[in-house]
Assembly symmetry: C2
Homo-oligomer: 193 residues x 2
């Protein structure tokens, strides 16, 4: 079966934009879609990369560019007043139940990048869990367990080992694509696979 692996950090706005396109893209090619949250800060540190918004001119352009992509896709987006946000607990929620990963991911992305909610609080984490189909109290306990913490670390290590340096990063087999602006190449790779 074709497989599309989507590595992302919830705190990355371009990851949000790409995430809104993943389910339809995988469906068009009958591909299995694997949601792989990773800690982007650790990827930057391991590879010597840095936040694009560190360059002031780039940050200004990014605000406009992100708005243009959101309009292009027809999805809600606004700059988060909580940025840069520590999304680690929310990303662990995605790893509680693989069958719910898509719904939890999209609920968390919307909370942060469409509705400007603070995704670090227990109340908001509960709300995301619930919208994603998890039992909130159990999910909030699960994200404090070593098993779930280790899965997020393992995803991050895997991304680095496979050559990632930013987010989103998509794999079709061993072919790696970086960026919301490369979805046409991802689509071509799925077509060829």
């Amino acid at each position: 079966m074709k497989k599309l692996e989507f590595f992302f950090d919830l705190s990355s706005p371009y990851s949000y934009l790409a995430a809104t396109q993943m389910k339809p893209m995988a469906a068009r090619h009958g591909a299995e879609l694997v949601w792989k949250p990773m800690v982007l800060g650790a990827v930057f540190k391991a590879t010597g990369n840095d936040m694009p918004a560190r360059v002031a001119h780039k940050a200004r352009w990014m605000g406009n560019d992100l708005a243009r992509w959101a309009e292009h896709y027809g999805v809600a987006w606004r700059w988060s007043s909580h940025f840069p946000v520590n999304a680690i607990k929310a990303m662990r929620l995605i790893l509680v139940d693989d069958a719910k990963a898509a719904d939890v991911t999209l609920a968390a992305f919307s909370a942060l990048w469409a509705d400007d909610r603070d995704i670090t609080t227990p109340d908001e984490l509960s709300r995301i869990a619930e919208r994603g189909g998890l039992e909130p109290a159990a999910a909030l306990q699960a994200i404090e367990t070593p098993a779930i913490k280790d899965r997020l670390r393992a995803n991050t290590d895997e991304a680095i080992a496979r050559g990632a340096f930013g987010a989103p990063t998509m794999f079709v087999g061993d072919e790696m694509h970086w960026g919301n602006d490369r979805l046409h190449f991802v689509e071509a790779a799925l077509r060829r696979q």
Copy 2:
């Protein structure tokens, strides 16, 4: 009249790829196309940005990504054995005669990024001048004059003042787009203008 301003550095491979698309794009919208060579190193220094290839993982991905874009456009491309190249003299050639700017630019880009030639030598500069429709001996004298040197500096200063941080950078009016991967947004801006 609609206007499309294309800021680029010859040493930037993504600038080469975008340059191959500029004339047809401008023609589709009846827009005046203005070729604006600039010194990317100075833009990086002024804005705190850096070469993408500085990050080893990104450099590896870039090699594949550039090849995919070249195939997508159907243009020749190979990694230059002369990279990073000092393209300042070749960029000054573009500024000798505005009526020849397009031809000189495309001749220089092809020499570097399709034919792997060393664009820093007097012989190759003469060849680029000739292929671009300039009288080579006069052109090679012109690029040592303060007037031409100043024009390249002025382009660079203008790009920085208008918010650029990388190459290629395209303006449609005041709307700025960065990157070969944003040509669809440039096209949309030309359509709206």
